[in-house]
Symmetry: C2
Subunit: 210 residues, 2 copies
Amino acid sequence: MEDQNKPKDTEAMILQAAEREFLEKGYAGARTTAIAEAAGVTHAMLHYYFRSKDKLFEKIVSDKMDKLCEMLLMTINHPELPLKERIQKGIEGHFEFLRANPDLPRFIINELAEHPGRMETLRGTLLKNATSLLESLQEEIDRLASCNLCERVDARMLLIDMVSLNVFLFIAAPMVKTVADSMYGDYDLFLEMRRRENVKTILGKLKLKL
Amino acid sequence: MEDQNKPKDTEAMILQAAEREFLEKGYAGARTTAIAEAAGVTHAMLHYYFRSKDKLFEKIVSDKMDKLCEMLLMTINHPELPLKERIQKGIEGHFEFLRANPDLPRFIINELAEHPGRMETLRGTLLKNATSLLESLQEEIDRLASCNLCERVDARMLLIDMVSLNVFLFIAAPMVKTVADSMYGDYDLFLEMRRRENVKTILGKLKLKL
DNA sequence: GTTTGCGTTAACAAAATTGTTAAACCAAAC
DNA sequence: GTTTGGTTTAACAATTTTGTTAACGCAAAC
């Protein structure tokens, strides 16, 4: 009924192995036999549960796109906080999400580069969330700016700055690791410093007087 | 005379086609037959000139790594200029290099992700150029800072900010294009705005009084 | 005019990878 | 105990992709 011998488990194991393999090597570089082996079954099981490599990949892509949107929705927006804390929480939330999913950006970016059409799917969710976030953010900035309490900056530019600064660290991890080791001695320490630095950079652009 | 017998050209045509295919699809996604077809020859020619797909790929990677190092050396460093112009020229030079080689970052990053060992090759050149650049930059910043003419910021952080802000625009091109179209109407216009914005962001951190 | 050697091609071979199937397995239902 | 149905496996088939080779063409050298 529920958990028979171990059917539900196999499917999950395959998904887990597929996620690792696809995120690490991309669609073309991934091998179905390697996925099956990592999941502890023969590769016929992969076809039994998911019909084809394509379908399995679609499942992973779809999951990851959802994850991306969920992040956009959950971690960035804190409209109840004052501007400074709101931005700080936003950047740090985004940063921590990336730290927990370090190879998600490269996966998404490669998939979008190969299938730009898939951007259409994201467009709706992305713009809808982003515009509502941006509107409320811009409103707050303008409010403070008209009292000379901060610079009147473009919230859209601010958001792109934030994403650029955070994402690059993880997307270029091998290079960043080497540089961090040579210049700061330790990668994790360096990440901490960058998280603070990125908050500082964004807040600095606002010149908040609060 | 026309395109019948031109031996020296064939090698170049293959290289050109290989560059396109590899940069676009990566090693695993590229097809030797597609490369040969794009070059206007049979795929046997590819083996005749380069022995194997691997060897051909190595050639392209090597060329692109050289290109990356060349860029680091040529476009970023202008020690003869005053700090403000120096930074502005550096950022804009880097930006224009990326605009002329928009899929180079993704290619390099994917290759480094798959073969982190290759980072060792880059390490020397990268650090050597970067440290000499950073030393002279930090020196200049400290000099001005001790006269209260600018903020005493970490030049290394500034360099990472610059690279992050510039590279993200091109590495995430499909997403950025969509966002730019929706928010600013035109991608090229948006790129111009971002180039200026990035200069402003970096200079803003310095709070230069000159 | 014949030879020589590089460049080229088409057909073929080899390897790797994905996809399929018949039969075995095994727990639960009858 | 037998049946049933989903799960699993091993062997196989199909396809795709890379790599090889023998023969051909052609220009330059002899």
